[in-house]
Symmetry: C2
């Protein structure tokens, strides 16, 4: 499985960075993960940069994170990944959120929670859930229903 995260803004917080790196390492036996950070900018410029980046991902299943998106249980999320295209691209916006032009590319809009998280926190949760999903799909013991 090929996974990619397009994220607006860098992960500045060292605790989050270390933890995200660790989840990425845990993921590595199960999936190839690429993280592409794009600079914080105006909503218009961010949208242009994301759409340009997505040109590299033709045929991929595109999953922008948005509060109005659908929520999944961890097991449903694993099934979504399992049924999706060979490559799945998640998009985490910055404080401006994600522009409508980008959301229109979505195979699915994903919401992690009704609560608001910082983009750094959203990346940490997404990585934990990606590791959890691959663990579910590979019959590991990390997840218990």
């Amino acid at each position: 499985m090929l996974l990619k995260i397009i994220a607006i803004g860098k992960l500045k917080d060292k605790y989050f960075r270390e933890r995200c790196d660790e989840y990425a390492k845990w993921l590595s036996p199960y999936a190839k993960l690429e993280i592409k950070e794009l600079p914080d900018s105006t909503p218009e410029k961010e949208a242009i940069a994301i759409l340009k980046e997505l040109e590299k991902d033709k045929g991929a299943f595109i999953v922008p994170m948005a509060e109005e998106g659908q929520q999944y249980t961890s097991r449903q999320f694993a099934e979504l990944l399992d049924k999706a295209a060979r490559k799945v691209v998640f998009i985490i916006g910055g404080p401006n959120g994600i522009a409508q032009e980008v959301k229109q590319q979505a195979g699915k809009l994903l919401s992690l929670s009704k609560m608001t998280f910082t983009h750094e926190f959203a990346r940490l949760i997404l990585l934990e859930q990606l590791f959890r999903a691959t663990n579910i799909l590979n019959g590991g013991h990390y997840h218990r229903d």
Copy 2:
């Protein structure tokens, strides 16, 4: 505002511990926070220990975390805290979850997401949302709708 978190199990992961300590520090101008860790055990023994601990919190608003609980937006969560009793006690179970006898003490059952998190991760999310809530209630700039 008095906040207390009763948690089953220690926060072993150093990244989570450092980050939780930081949110607790950020919270400190707004609320007095107490964290009480109780040992991992059988569901029955955990329930007895939690109920015994709750005897110290008469009159408090009790909020066990449970996947079947209610989800709130960050702003709704802030309003819940604002309207609650002077003291609010959150309960985070371990891998066994929280026993029915404890849930019966609840003023409200709270769910963070449909997704499953480890108890360490749940504590991190709860602390971030508690800081966010106090920031909302005090007119800070950490939260944007």
